[in-house]
Symmetry: C2
Subunit: 252 residues, 2 copies
Amino acid sequence: MRKLLLIGIGVGDPDFVTQQAINALNRVDVFFLIDKGDVKNELIAVRRDICQRFIAGDGYRFVTIDEPLRDREAAGYEAAVQDWLDRRAALFEEAIGTELGPEDTGAFLVWGDPTLYDGTIRIIDALVARAKMPFEHEVIPGISAIQVLVARHRLPLNRIGEPIHITTGRRLADGLPDGFDNVVVMLDAGFAAGQLPDADQIDVYWGAYLGTASEVLISGRLSEVAEEIGRRKRQLRADKGWIMDTYLLRRT
Amino acid sequence: MRKLLLIGIGVGDPDFVTQQAINALNRVDVFFLIDKGDVKNELIAVRRDICQRFIAGDGYRFVTIDEPLRDREAAGYEAAVQDWLDRRAALFEEAIGTELGPEDTGAFLVWGDPTLYDGTIRIIDALVARAKMPFEHEVIPGISAIQVLVARHRLPLNRIGEPIHITTGRRLADGLPDGFDNVVVMLDAGFAAGQLPDADQIDVYWGAYLGTASEVLISGRLSEVAEEIGRRKRQLRADKGWIMDTYLLRRT
């Protein structure tokens, strides 16, 4: 039967791959790469570099799947994402059906961890639900941006016995959830924390391009560094054409 | 200057170590192991196994630090943990001062990820604050139990755009936080989810001894599997003498 591996490759630094991921890489016949356009070609280069470094021999090949465009201006966020995931699933099904032989192993190399704010597992579940093509699949965890963020800042994610809340920039725009003292923010297009009240009672630990040579870290009292983070983020995005960042907010 | 590395080794399976961790292991002169008594000697065996497998040569040694007893019956949970951490820090300072030469590199091999519900970073911060002994330190992320849990269940941790809440069994006893649909529970001595209302509207994905040969996974509607999980957990703990488990709750 066809096999699909969802391999978490960590963020940025090829050294974040696990031994389990290396073993998995060496079982793969076809790597499916997703082409998100010029600006993120750097992320594809990291994937090719990982294969070259950690795979013995050259018995594998790459197949590129074009990323469908997503309507980021649509009114219904969840509906727009769902529509985009459906179109993506159809493209993936076609690529897998065409490129992967019935006994072959294919893989997606997922930035960070496949279980955290990534759509690949959902695509695979959609393929399973369509049931047009039988396959087995396996998920291989990878080091996430959150882990690299706090490791670089040399921080525990939680204080003793405290809960941790992981949310999106979109949701943070409605304010810090009540009673939660450790909040990690992902997928923030701007810097939503800059609008929070009580910024003099919140510490922020921010990181961009984590794990890469372009990594930037800023930390401090939110009231003191929010403007710097916002400015820096706009400037980095302008310079590089894209940005990936995340941050931890902690009530003092 | 002395160097201390806090190396996340993942959970259970030595294959969870990252290439970064392997590089770090090979720089270490002294590994500090924490002896938590007979029942957890299995966890020490995994650490020794990792060193043997991934370190070239034998230019390293192990130093065992006895774990101070913790008063688990104390009224103030946070104060009791703090007192225990203080005694632990004093023991660590002594061991490091005695065993690590001024140019040496020492390491703690941390189960899972050093930033997630683990006390080692706090101990190191306490040593930095005491300022009796200068050293540099570095945190190396590892695959956490949460990641292995959802990878084994082949689940995304969050549904589209939803937040994720990570909490403790102690806090879950007060009920599921309002409006949060994805809750991961750590450090649950019993199975606090068994007491939740609306169990017929919650799915649970549970895992014990994740990443080890003894791994157990159970999932289903909470109302249907809560009793089984509770019973299985009591039985496994009785058989093995200890248990490590975690679970994801998801509102349907």
